[in-house]
Point group: C2
Chain length 591, copies 2
């Protein structure tokens, strides 16, 4: 049975020593998030996830969700009680506006807590995650009536939320969407159609479910310009509202979350935002949603790493190449073997930098919403928009790969269900797919985010990273971190230039290189995070504050990243520079 320990100390180090969260005390909600409050919140979140959610993770996988003949769906044993505790703890509305019952704390804190939730029990964590998405949609786009009616129930956790985009024939290409909305006299709409892959579409955790549904109003234009967003409650004043779960999907993992086919049969709904502007409404929430999925990659990598470490210290097999390390035992623990170390170091060097990247992105999100300064809001929004596809695509790819590595540490025992390692692999796999498959993230990055506003966001990123490197050129202690970053940053700049010179006339050159570019960017971003972490660790060591071993460990991990992981940027660049020729040359019939 796998275990989990929330990485609270590491989070606090990042918030306080790397990102100096106290610098943002001028933003609404941040002053309330004093170091004491933050630590108390995170310790409590750690306790809840370790003691309540983690033990339900295997249960959820084994039992899954059940749809009953009457359309009801029941969640695995223990989920209902755990959800009640989550709700009573006020975790769902922690960062929601105070006027509707939320606590108004920085979204960054919610993001951090969501990492712990996802590590402990990904399938469970999706239920509250979708509530937060629904809250964001209504806060940003709902009219006052909708806000008054729905937000208090959602924020308290009494009601849940879902997102209904996908249809059988349309996922990425929402322009093909067919679900229909017919305007009624009273300002409401009748919604009809079928939605698939709806996480938490039906469940027994909450008394009502607020579905956010994309549909096409009768007579609206074809394509993406004729799509509107609606709110459709499961129960309307306590009575069924023509929406039901037709079936639940049999899937690879996240069995504890009900993935539903939802049938809308003249269900009553209300418009959220403007007519035919539904996709825009979705887009404004997309950064947060995608950041939320990106952190799932980190979350699964973290919990898989922790369990691999436990096993690597316990399992006795073979002797160290340099002579027995545990001569009193029949064999050495496998953590003595360099190849096992390589795997553990790889995972952890990712986890700590990925956590930093998530927090940095989330902070930019908070600033973009809360700063009184227009310029600061704009540049934070740029950074958030630029980093989001990177966080989503790279953290879920690398996070999944790390669950596979962690499973490998267990040998044959990793393939067996009882240790729980294979569940991490199956669960982590979904994060590469939903909320925009990673290939779509790469296209979003290269096709939209790079070019937006004349490349303002990427130029700002380059300026920041280059300035950082330049300012530390003479800092010897930072050399092992800053010099490799400088080299890889140059690869990223060269790749960006290559697109500018070669993809305008031939867009396939951008498409064929987009995935490598996303990963090249991810490596550079993680490398930059390691520089920031190493510098903060060196400062702590110099000040003789805290546990020296903890900071020395970070310095070694950072070196490992720089020596062994960051140099992959060269291969990524060389692949991009080959262009689309061999990729696109074959006719479709040749496949």
């Amino acid at each position: 049975m796998p275990t989990y320990k929330a990485p609270v100390d590491d989070t606090l180090f990042l918030l306080n020593d790397v990102f100096h969260i106290d610098r943002y005390n001028n933003l609404p909600g941040f002053a309330d998030a004093s170091p004491d409050v933050v630590e108390a919140v995170l310790r409590e979140a750690g306790k809840f996830t370790e003691e309540v959610l983690a033990p339900l993770n295997r249960v959820g996988d084994k039992e899954g969700c059940t749809r009953h003949p009457d359309g009801r769906v029941t969640t695995p044993t223990g989920f209902k009680d755990a959800y009640r505790q989550l709700r009573d703890g006020g975790w769902i509305g922690m960062s929601a506006p105070g006027e509707y019952g939320g606590q108004g704390l920085p979204s960054t804190l919610t993001v951090i807590v969501n990492e712990y939730l996802a590590s402990a029990n990904l399938a469970f964590s999706m239920y509250p995650g979708l509530v937060q998405g629904a809250v964001a949609a209504l806060v940003q786009h709902g009219n006052d009536e909708l806000k008054q009616k729905y937000l208090p129930h959602l924020i308290s956790g009494e009601w849940a939320g879902t997102m209904n985009l996908t249809e059988p024939h349309c996922g990425t290409d929402l322009g093909l969407l067919r679900t229909k909305a017919v305007k009624q006299g009273n300002g409401s709409y009748k919604i009809s159609g079928t939605k698939i892959f709806i996480s938490g579409g039906e469940q027994d955790l909450t008394e009502n479910i607020v579905h956010l549904v994309l549909a096409r109003i009768e007579g609206a234009p074809e394509g993406t310009k004729g799509i509107s967003l609606f709110v459709v409650p499961k129960l309307l004043d306590g009575a069924p509202n023509g929406v039901s779960c037709g079936s639940i999907e049999e899937k690879m993992g996240i069995h504890g979350n009900s993935t539903c086919v939802m049938n809308y049969d003249g269900a009553t709904g209300w418009l959220v935002g403007e007519e035919n502007r539904g996709l825009n409404a979705m887009f404004t929430m997309m950064n947060e949603a995608r950041l939320g999925v990106g952190l799932q990659g980190l979350a699964l990598s973290e919990v898989a790493y922790q369990n691999a470490v436990v096993y690597a210290k316990e399992r006795l097999q073979g002797r160290a190449l340099t002579g027995a390390k545990a001569p009193d035992k029949p064999a050495d623990p496998i953590i003595v073997h360099p190849d096992v170390r390589r795997v553990l170091m790889t995972m952890r060097a990712f986890n700590e930098a990925a956590r930093a990247l998530v927090i940095w992105t989330a902070l930019n999100g908070d600033i973009s919403h809360r700063s009184p300064d227009t310029k600061q809001r704009e540049s934070a929004d740029d950074a958030m928009g630029l980093l989001t596809p990177v966080v989503k695509g790279v953290l879920t790819d690398m996070g999944f790969a790390n669950t596979v590595l962690a499973q490998q540490v267990f040998g044959g025992h990793g393939y067996i269900a009882e240790h729980g390692m294979e569940q991490f692999v199956r669960d982590a796999r979904i994060a590469m797919i939903y909320e925009g498959a990673n290939g779509i993230q790469a296209l979003d990055l290269v096709g939209r985010k790079l070019a937006r506003n004349g490349g303002r966001a990427i130029m700002a990123f380059f300026n920041e990273a280059q300035g950082y490197v330049k300012d530390r050129a003479a800092n010897e202690a930072m050399g092992p971190y800053v010099k490799p970053l400088e080299k890889s940053l140059a690869h990223l700049q060269q790749a960006t230039m290559w697109f500018m010179n070669n993809a305008m006339a031939k867009p396939d050159n951008a498409g064929a290189g987009s995935y490598d570019y996303m990963h090249l960017f991810g490596l550079v971003a993680l490398g930059y995070m390691w520089c920031r972490i190493a510098e903060a660790a060196q400062a702590k060591l110099a000040a003789k504050e805290g546990d020296a071993q903890q900071y020395n460990t970070k310095l070694v991990l950072g070196r490992f990243f720089m020596e062994r992981m960051l140099p992959e940027t060269a291969t990524r660049l060389s692949r991009i520079e080959t262009g689309a020729a061999s990729t696109m040359e074959l006719p479709a019939e040749a496949f």
Copy 2:
């Protein structure tokens, strides 16, 4: 429901045009394998795997195997009938010695057929695969009595076989093994102990099962030097023999294969080979067994690729970056998108070269056993030994990665069980683990195979590849293939030198770089295969033989491999050259 089409044409091209199998007609069995016979055999194997085995793949996954209270195990619906057909078709003993009822055909043909079997139904294919392992063990190490008694039943497929190595506390480190053998007066032994992860340990496909069991004879030395190999039949002259299946494991995939805990309770067994030389007996079969697992990586990649292609041509989503390709349809098929192409090309560029590498390795295996020339046997055995860990480690890693890529092409539909793509991922995962986890393959390569006989095998490989490159230095048409190979071959040579200079005194430097070295070697070996394929394709085109489109496709695939996949050797080398310092620096407590 996934489909499968055996790649018979590609196999024939490799056998006839790339490796010129007719050159080996002097070897026993090869003359019988005339081009007509080979084609007929492969077409028939294709038909059987496509029509009988592939349709049972999802069934096997869903139903799994069932252990009944009396210890019997039943396999999924249809497996028994399919096994009967496999047996009746003579597929199991195709390459076994004629004197015991086999057909004596080259093992290479069995290896090829095993690829098709594994593509169509990996879980099923493991049952006959283990029979072939048992046959090899008895042919090489059994005395005449054992051969006469067991081989005819195994080769005919009447009886099955298993390999019993692993115990709960010992997998990789067989020196820790505890299963006991007590010598009886009559030349037999009583075997007692518990073995785990025994594939096909109990089943309802055959009337008897021949277990090959590693155990320690009473009073034998500790460690690996006190292990002997025994044959223990399930039924002894029709009566139960003290061996039973205690439980079957709940696991990630290959549900159609029964993975058993086997309890030996004074079961009667006979020594195979010499006392205390059991590990040696296992080692002589290990190359074949590991090649057999390596090809499973290819097999799953192939079938996953095929299904991804079907979906990529059918699924309509979005428009090509260069303008609509199917303007009459609501959207273009996703195969128009460069990132989807990248994925398809990546899989196929692997599959075709991996198939060549498997065949080349298998041919070396045949030569090493069948050649009348001592020198030729020796050099083929060197090549086989060197390539085996590469084939096992690299093909299963890349094969698994490709099943993940293929699943990604399906988006959300890939995560759902009904399309079968997630099963390929779960099934492919085991091949990285069993028959020596891939980290062990890397150590075998770097720690044993490189150094053996003063580096004779690796020097011969370098000579062959360098000679090949040199002979084509002026061949312009081969430039795009040979020049990148030359560069990556230099990386491999540099890495080899680095180990020679840095790992003798500090073995951790070899351990920390072994995994990257294995993959670096794999890329070079696959690159060499692409050169051979491209050259053969160019010859066919020049001679205007066969389907030009087919050969042109190979030339493009080869270029894609050279431009986009092979350059990763640079990153692998740079990682190796950083040594073990940052990998090994942290104390175990820091994890």
